[in-house]
């Protein structure tokens, strides 16, 4: 009887310990995949160093998920998510800089034309 109790407690402890171990970062993987897809959608490609990092780390995270190395998977996925978001931000900023340059060029042309009209 005592033996069985001890066993039960031991099993419970092991189970608890199992619970406190890293759980599979399923939600984080989803977030990361989404962030990478979104960065791609706005035009981030291998020209952007952060995008290369994001793809590499996502691949590593997926590999670690398969190996049930969840701690590493989570870390890589977390980093890849931010890499992708930064890549996306850089693409959007550079696009807006180009648009600004276009606008400035247009304004210059308009001023010139107006000057010629006077």
């Amino acid at each position: 009887m005592i033996h069985r109790r001890t066993l039960a407690i031991a099993v419970a402890l092991v189970a608890l310990a199992g619970c406190t171990k890293d759980p599979a970062p399923i939600e984080q993987m989803r977030l990361t995949e989404q962030a990478v897809a979104q960065a791609k959608a706005v035009g981030a490609d291998e020209q952007i160093p952060e995008m290369v990092l994001a793809e590499q780390k996502l691949a590593r995270a997926q590999k670690n998920m398969n190996e049930q190395d969840y701690k590493r998977a989570r870390m890589f996925a977390e980093q890849a998510e931010l890499d992708a978001r930064l890549a996306e931000g850089r693409v959007l900023t550079s696009k807006s800089e180009k648009q600004l340059a276009d606008l400035n060029a247009r304004i210059k042309r308009l001023h010139k034309q107006l000057g010629a009209m006077q």
Binding site: E78, R85, L86, G89, N104, I107
Partner: protein
């Protein structure tokens, strides 16, 4: 311990120390870099305005890394959270740049629209002035007759018994086209005339061909066909005698009769 074993041992100890040294500063370095980045975005009022959530996350990750750095053997975690913190700072900075650019873009877009409006107004004014100028020019060149306003395209425009318009006519015709474009209600009658040499039929045909050559050019330059009539009067209605070659050259001519500004033409001769 023999000397070789001793040396190996010493080397092993050195390696362990070196790796120990190598990991510690790594974590410390990334922590330092994360602190610097966070400091910058934290002091950037634009960043606080445009990307407050990322700034907060950069700070949270940084304090987590700071806390972890006081524990032994947590270098990997320290570096991880320092990395995340730095990324959040960079994302915040990037979003801030983007938002500032977008605000600037909106302002410039308004500038563009204002300038376009100004330019349109200036152009309109200039077209009106140009229209007046052209009208004056045409009025100067044309004479008021009982048929209405008549512009004579001079004798140099056609060779004898030829209906082909010489290039010298282009300037006058371009002016005429501009005038007609600026006065869309006016229509014209193009009248061809010849000197008195040759038969009556030939001259009628030649005069008609000359008028048509001018009309075709006007049409080619964009004037609607419906605004142009072409007629030929042969050797009738000479402007001067046909006895001299000079007189005959003057009689070889095309006259443009303008309607009034309501599109009403005087009757045919």
């Amino acid at each position: 311990m023999n000397p070789i074993a001793y040396r190996l041992f010493a080397a092993a100890v050195a390696t362990v120390l070196l790796t120990g040294c190598a990991t510690e500063p790594d974590a410390e370095q990334s922590l330092e870099a994360a602190r610097d980045s966070f400091q910058k975005v934290k002091e950037d009022t634009d960043a606080l305005r445009y990307a407050p959530r990322d700034v907060i996350r950069a700070g949270d990750s940084l304090s987590r890394a700071d806390r972890l750095s006081t524990y032994w053997g947590s270098d990997a975690d320290v570096q991880h959270y320092a990395y995340l913190s730095q990324r959040y700072s960079a994302i915040a900075a990037e979003h801030t740049k983007l938002s500032v650019n977008q605000e600037r873009q909106a302002k410039l877009q308004m500038d563009v629209e204002r300038l376009q409006l100004n330019l349109r107004e200036a152009k309109l004014l200039s077209v009106q002035q140009q229209g007046k100028w052209l009208e004056e020019q045409i009025n100067l060149a044309a004479t008021e007759t009982n048929r209405g306003l008549v512009l004579t395209l001079g004798d140099v425009l056609f060779d004898a018994s030829d209906a082909e318009l010489k290039p010298a006519a282009n300037r006058t015709l371009l002016k005429l086209v501009q005038f007609l474009q600026l006065n869309p209600r006016r229509v014209v009658r193009v009248e061809g005339y010849t000197d008195n040499r040759g038969s009556r039929e030939e001259n009628l045909e030649l005069s008609k061909a000359r008028a048509q050559a001018v009309a075709d050019t006007l049409i080619d330059l964009g004037i609607d066909q419906s605004r142009i009539q072409a007629v030929g009067y042969g050797a009738d209605f000479p402007v001067t005698e046909n006895a001299s070659s000079r007189g005959r050259a003057q009689n070889r001519r095309v006259e443009i009769v303008f309607s009034d500004d309501q599109g009403k033409l005087g009757s045919d001769r």
